[in-house]
Symmetry: C2
Subunit: 469 residues, 2 copies
């Protein structure tokens, strides 16, 4: 299914008209219908066409959010939660118009409980702001999806990133959250206990629900001690296959890698050109280890041995921060390096995730497909989880090219599903993956719909996302 096949969300023009007036009166300067501001709140970082909301609200508190949701609920007008706008599958688009709730004024750190390794923050705080706030505590929040996303947005999309292999995803690092539900009531889903068996897991139900079941206003997050030492480095391989074999052996040996990232040959070439590096052109693994001085050295050495067994190496690694940054710099700039492969193009960033035993095969088939389709589309992967991204560069104004890329994405998803994987490891469904949810979840989608209907009977929360009509 292509994006253009998505059913339109019906527009309630009369309701919107009333709501805009009421919200202006209620929020004053904190509500705007300015056209360019509305467009900024529909802006997606991919090629997905913009669908703007009718107004943007800037709540200060959970009670503001509650009022906005109640007002919109009264007139059946959509509300779309907006964090930093860095999501990739059209999550913040407003296909039926309505009101974007921008959480950027809700950035308070409500509590840091250092002894318990947790903190409670408002949803609009970004992960970098949180880590900046924590800088003197010896603690950090590890989840790193690349972009400086808001923590509310990261929870809503079940984000993860490079170090999920060690620290898990948002699902594993949220102890509890507070959300405004469709009926305007405020729910706190749990306590600060590290674990609980008290009833249905509303925390995990809201995580990944993309603003369709409730609007997250604050979260209690697990924190981690900043490791005593970090080592890291880069290891070239002769093939993706061998690199993947080394990854499997590493995971299976129980080496607690903090990051293990695969970069394919095209991506590596782009990075070498962009960052002027003296690396071999070919697939590479980038690694990082966290622990005591002795542990990170031991882990790096163990990995070096494994890499050599699979024909990889030399594994250049170091515990010195500056040198590590130099080695990793290319990986951090991968996105920008890719964009130079086709200046002026739009990027479609898509992701799938497969069992790691199938990863090499999945990437190899995907590379062949890219070549046959004639795309410029480098690959990077959080391969410890079996998760990889393809960045297809295209001319978004050329409909036949867009159709060709969409067909490629459909084949990629079908391939991942055939290998017992998922159509999205970390980007979420939004609009871009709606067409694949039924292939992946079958009858499960029916029960997702029942839950959606039970919790948001009017369908006002981020309509047109996740669930196929």
């Amino acid at each position: 299914m292509a994006l253009s096949d998505l059913k339109p969300v019906e527009r309630n023009a009369a309701g919107v008209e009333i709501v805009l007036g009421v919200l202006k009166q209620r929020l004053g300067d904190r509500f705007s219908t300015n056209r360019s501001l509305c467009e900024q709140h529909a802006h997606t970082t991919t090629y997905i066409p913009m669908q703007t909301p009718d107004g943007v609200a800037f709540p200060d508190t959970a009670e503001d959010v509650q009022d906005i949701v109640r007002i919109c609920g009264t007139y059946r007008v959509p509300v779309i939660a907006f964090g930093a706008g860095t999501s990739l599958e059209g999550h913040v688009n407003a296909p039926g118009g309505g009101v974007a709730i921008d959480t950027s004024r809700m950035k308070r750190v409500l509590a840091v409980n250092a002894d318990d390794l947790d903190c409670t923050v408002e949803a609009g705080l970004t992960r970098e702001e949180l880590n900046q706030h924590l800088r003197d505590t010896g603690l950090f929040f590890p989840i790193d999806p690349g972009a400086n996303a808001t923590l509310g947005g990261m929870a809503a999309t079940r984000a993860s990133g490079t170090n999920a292999v060690r620290y898990g995803t948002m699902k594993d690092n949220v102890l509890s959250l507070t959300a405004v539900m469709a009926d305007g009531s405020i729910v706190t889903t749990g306590r600060r206990a590290r674990k609980s068996s008290a009833g249905y897991d509303l925390t995990r139900l809201l995580i990944g629900s993309e603003g369709t079941l409730g609007i997250i206003v604050s979260l209690t997050l697990k924190l981690h001690g900043i490791p005593q030492a970090i080592s890291g480095g880069v290891c070239p391989f002769l093939s993706v296959e061998q690199a993947c074999r080394a990854v499997i052996a590493t995971i299976q040996m129980g080496i607690p890698v903090a990051r293990i990232e695969l970069v394919n040959a095209l991506q590596m070439r782009a990075m070498i050109n962009y960052s002027k590096l003296d690396y071999p052109e070919g697939p590479c693994l980038f690694l990082e280890f966290h622990g005591s001085d002795a542990a990170v050295a031991e882990q790096a050495e163990s990995f070096g041995d494994i890499a050599a067994e699979y024909g990889g190496g030399p594994f250049l690694w170091t515990s010195v921060a500056e040198e590590r940054s130099r080695l990793w710099k290319a990986r951090h700039d991968a996105y920008w390096a890719s964009m130079e492969l086709r200046p002026g193009a739009r990027a479609l960033s898509t992701d799938v995730c497969v069992p790691i035993s199938r990863l090499a095969e999945c990437i190899a088939e995907t590379e062949s497909d890219i070549a046959e389709t004639g795309l410029i589309a480098p690959i990077v992967g959080h391969v410890g989880d079996g998760n990889f991204h393809v960045l297809a560069l295209m001319d978004a104004a050329d409909h036949s090219e867009v159709a060709r890329v969409e067909a490629f994405v459909a084949r990629l998803n079908a391939r991942a599903l055939r290998m017992d994987g998922t159509c999205t490891g970390e980007h979420g469904v939004g609009q871009g993956k709606i067409g694949f949810l039924e292939q992946e979840n079958g009858r499960g989608v029916h029960f997702m719909r029942l839950i959606k209907q039970a919790l948001d009977p009017q369908g006002i929360l981020n309509p047109g996302k996740i669930l196929p009509d």
Copy 2:
């Protein structure tokens, strides 16, 4: 709220009558209404009064379960999933009668994917059977709730246990599960990918739902590599307070303890008497470390230093398996040791979980409460998570004593909630904790009810559990 305040579940005698006949015909020998067999399936390991089902079915396949649920659904007769019957809060009681679904014939290991560190098993397999099956693979399934529970039951109750501090709970170790829903349809909630952002998290919704939203028939589980080395030992402390401080420091330093168990003075005395040990009488921590030879030695030494800082020690530890077993033996026999404190008594085993910064205070207040109430009630705790158990020994026939213990449990739960903890860290709600769910989850209970109504509109799945009427 005491157990006796629970609203009775209405009994559909006419429906039951029909269903018993239909199931006998459909399942033959694999269905029984034998009185003592029915009683075995209501047997709870605590003092909670028995409520027997009208019949017990022994399905061989998911399709058998599907048929049973459909037949029961047609006549609005309750179905109660039954694993090993080791749960502690009355989960398998049948307050409205109905049919127990005993999964003991569903023990197949459907797949072991060693490269992916996962396996798929039927719900009736126990955790010890699984680890026995895995013995030649170098892999193991870590979750250990003590009892040799079935994996389906462990998922249904969101079980954890001693090594959750390192390996997480069932919520963290189930990749996907297959369940028969109330309408008789079969849902598989996910794929074998290590992570996914594809729609609502039905996996986590079913985990901990105690058979009230669906009946788990098979599960895909994460496996872990058997550590190269294990070290462990015992460390006495002068007070629970100091032991808890040492735990906090250990967790905060990022020492990846695999187990860190607190035993209070009374429990320690019971264990010393029972196991004829030459340990000091007073609070102790039992620890275990998993990793490389070097890592487990380093971790044990680091912990020894921390313990000394908090007045604890000497920390006796070893990497030799036999010696470690000897040191840990007392902990493994804690339950039997406790029972000797009051021969002939019934045990009420209850659990709460608080942020670890509040653990010392929570246990100290609980010890005072036990003393003031005049109970014999030792305490053990999975303190890396802030989770602890009180085993209250009582004469279950003495109503005033039962009432006194129930009042104590109510105060314990209120105390945990006041400290931002939960009324159950790992035992679940069942019948025993129903009265505390609203105190803990507030408005959240309303949304749990909406979900229950949406997914099981007739209320046939394990009625009278989790949700207060």
